[in-house]
């Protein structure tokens, strides 16, 4: 039995979400299979974009700016260990925050927990991420580099990366429904973020006194964690920064989910 009433907090929300798991799966599958339709090289895009970014950043930061790598780690590998999580998070932020507007025809015509839509956009980013792991394997072979045991902890940092980007993405997605201004803000955030996050350089180049402040950007913890896992512990982890990253990501996620749930009942009215 369903009761529809104004401002009723849906006690069944999470159970509903489970009921709609098939819809979630099929929407995620739709988004994945449509993403590279009618492109000539298809999934190769998921490889080319991070690969070119890696090359450019290696040249700019490694060769021109001559920033130091971590001891014993080739600069391209250092950059790529940062590019991987960056593309994952940037895609989640960019795609999920536009996903509601892109699916407005669904929202206006059928009911389902709206959380499914940005979630399926995040799945697409994860699939792209998995594909670009191929480059990582190739780089390991090329440089004859063997990762350490730390690599088995990578899934934890993937979760952290998803959490760090999902919170802001949900918030922006919900805001975007009402105020289309945020559509213009998101690419801007992603562009700035690429330079203020330690993608092209190691966060160890940041002066010690500023390290904690620098870690207010949750991406710092995510990228440092990735490097720690992928570069066999050669890249040391800055623990206070990581703790701060986790705390900020969790807070953003809580805010994002709360705001999303508060506004989602009115999405169809303001679409």
């Amino acid at each position: 039995m369903i009761i529809l009433e104004a401002g009723r907090t849906d006690t069944n929300y999470w159970r509903d979400l489970w009921t709609y798991r098939e819809l979630f799966a099929i929407l995620a599958w739709r988004d994945v299979s449509v993403r590279y339709k009618q492109t000539a090289i298809g999934f190769a895009w998921a490889i080319i974009r991070p690969l070119i970014t890696m090359v450019v950043f290696t040249v700019v930061f490694g060769q021109l700016a001559k920033l130091p790598s971590v001891a014993g780690v080739p600069y391209p590998l250092l950059v790529f260990a940062g590019t991987l999580p960056w593309f994952l998070c940037a895609s989640i932020l960019g795609d999920a925050s536009n996903s509601l507007v892109g699916n407005s025809h669904l929202i206006g015509k059928v009911y389902f927990p709206r959380l499914i839509i940005p979630a399926s956009a995040a799945i697409v980013a994860l699939v792209d991420f998995a594909v670009s792991m191929v480059i990582l394997a190739a780089l390991y072979l090329w440089f004859g580099y063997a990762p350490g045991w730390q690599i088995i902890l990578l899934p934890l940092f993937i979760v952290l990366g998803v959490a760090a980007s999902a919170g802001p993405a949900l918030l922006l997605a919900a805001l975007n429904v009402k105020y289309r201004d945020f559509r213009f803000l998101v690419p801007f955030i992603v562009q700035i973020g690429l330079y203020i996050s330690p993608v092209g350089f190691s966060s160890s180049v940041v002066p010690e006194a500023w390290r904690l402040w620098y870690s207010l950007n949750p991406m710092v913890g995510v990228i440092d964690g990735f490097r720690w896992c992928l570069l066999g512990g050669d890249s040391a982890i800055y623990w206070p920064g990581l703790v701060l990253s986790v705390a900020i990501s969790a807070t953003l996620l809580a805010i994002g989910v709360a705001y999303f749930r508060k506004t989602e009942r009115a999405f169809a009215d303001v679409m």
Partner: protein, 449 residues
């Protein structure tokens, strides 16, 4: 609530805010909100300083799309929801389908609901027909296993076997709609909510859909059905819920009478061949309308407003011209009782030399509908007026005065043609027949005009 009541609505209302802060496309820009907030705060501070109340009349206007709507729907009911545009039908369906939430009141629903507010929701052009069937099925709330089981049946119903692995963007619009409806037609919810989806496809496909819907209803499921097609409502529904400007009249089971009343826009479907002077309806700057009347030309009428088909029917429009304009014209639309639009006529249909010359003062316009043009039945006539190509003064479907009259008997002078024909019109055509005396030819009647 009784055990077999599946939908119970009480005090249901839905408010929308309209006004300057809701932009033209309904999306506020962030700047507007920030601006409003800043302006609001400044004003509030100013008012505080003057020791006045902070809250004053909001700059937005409230609009109740639904208000105080209450009804109970029992298991197995097939309910037709009727009402003019903007009466709140779609809003009601959106609340019942959980797309939007009510502003006040509550609805209790028992059973699995599937809503069909559109055919082909979520269809993606890049995906094949097969993929879209699964996608659309999931969107409409079907389990994947259920779609798999019914897949062949769905494709068969749509008649697109050959193209099932082609992207739907290559489909003709007919194929697209057929496939989309086929998926929807195989939904098996306990409660089905349908909005106007029968208004797609060709006539043959529409009747196929209607048949399918009837099937669904026949299996003890509850159906809520919005349509402008009153025929469909009359044929399918066991109850009618009539919405007027967001308010619902009590649910009725006398479907035929209720749909009749809906069509005639009157409280009762009685014949009323005279309209006189309610100028609130017809108010405009050019003229006052005083009287519209339909008259028969026979000496003896069957009854008031009831004419024999053997009479010429005169349509007389009387009024007072306040502001003559050479482009001012009048006309009428004639509808059958089932809503078919059979005639539209303007007073300027005749050669220009015969047009009236509008001047200030009382006027009378008259049109004659030749005898034996119409069939037996009840007809509704709406008077409209416009400044040609510029502006409606009495706009069809909006503020037109209308009259209702009935044709009964007098169908022909022939002993063979005495009962109502199934056709829309009952015109008696001038037939001629004569024998040709060439022996080789079979006896036949020659046609000539």
């Amino acid at each position: 609530m009784g055990s077999d009541v599946v939908i119970c609505a009480a005090g249901l209302g839905k408010k929308y805010l309209i006004g300057h802060s809701a932009g033209r496309d309904g999306n506020m820009s962030f700047r507007e909100v920030v601006g409003d907030t800043v302006r609001g705060a400044t004003r509030a501070i100013a008012r505080l300083a003057k020791n006045q109340q902070i809250v004053v009349g909001a700059s937005t206007e409230e609009f109740w799309a639904l208000k105080d709507v209450a009804f109970n729907i029992s298991r197995g009911d097939v309910v037709g929801i009727v009402g003019r545009n903007g009466a709140g039908k779609s809003t009601l369906l959106k609340i019942l389908s959980r797309i939007t939430e009510p502003t006040e009141g509550r609805v209790t629903i028992r059973g699995r609901v599937a809503s069909l507010l559109e055919v082909g929701t979520g269809f993606h052009g890049e995906l094949s027909g097969r993929e879209n069937v699964y996608l659309n099925g999931a969107i409409l709330g079907m389990r994947q296993a259920e779609v798999r089981r019914k897949f062949d049946e769905i494709v068969d119903f749509a008649g697109v076997e050959k193209f099932i692995d082609t992207p739907v963007k290559r489909y003709s619009s007919g194929m697209y709609v057929r496939l989309a409806f086929a998926v929807a037609a195989h939904l098996e919810p306990e409660i089905l909510i349908v909005d106007e989806v029968l208004a797609v496809g060709d006539a043959e496909f529409q009747s196929k859909c209607l048949g399918k819907m009837k099937d669904v209803a026949g299996h003890g499921r509850t159906v809520l059905f919005v349509s402008h097609n009153i025929h469909a409502v009359e044929r399918m529904c066991s109850k009618v819920l009539w919405l007027t400007q967001g308010r619902a009249a009590p649910m009725r089971s006398d479907v035929a009478i209720a749909t009749g009343e809906y069509l005639y826009g009157a409280k009762s479907a009685t014949v009323q061949a005279v309209w006189q002077g309610d100028n609130n309806v017809a108010a405009n700057a050019y003229f006052d309308l005083t009287r519209v009347v339909v008259e028969g030309t026979a000496e003896q009428h069957v009854a008031d407003g009831v004419f024999s088909n053997a009479e010429n029917i005169k349509i007389i429009i009387k009024g007072y011209l306040k502001h003559p304009d050479p482009a001012l014209n009048f006309g009428f639309d004639l509808f059958t009782s089932s809503g078919d639009h059979i005639i539209q006529s303007y007073n300027t249909d005749v050669p220009q030399a015969e047009w009236w010359k509008p001047t200030r003062g009382a006027f009378e316009l008259q049109a004659t509908l030749p005898r034996r043009t119409l069939n037996e039945g009840t007809y509704r006539l709406e008077i409209f007026a416009s400044i040609h190509n510029k502006q409606w003064l009495l706009e069809p479907g909006s503020n037109c005065p209308s009259v209702v009259f009935k044709i009964q008997g007098g169908l022909s002078d022939s002993p063979f043609y005495v009962s109502k024909r199934p056709s829309l019109l009952g015109i008696v055509l001038p037939w001629q027949g004569q024998m040709r005396n060439a022996p080789a030819e079979s006896p036949s009647m020659a046609l000539s005009e």
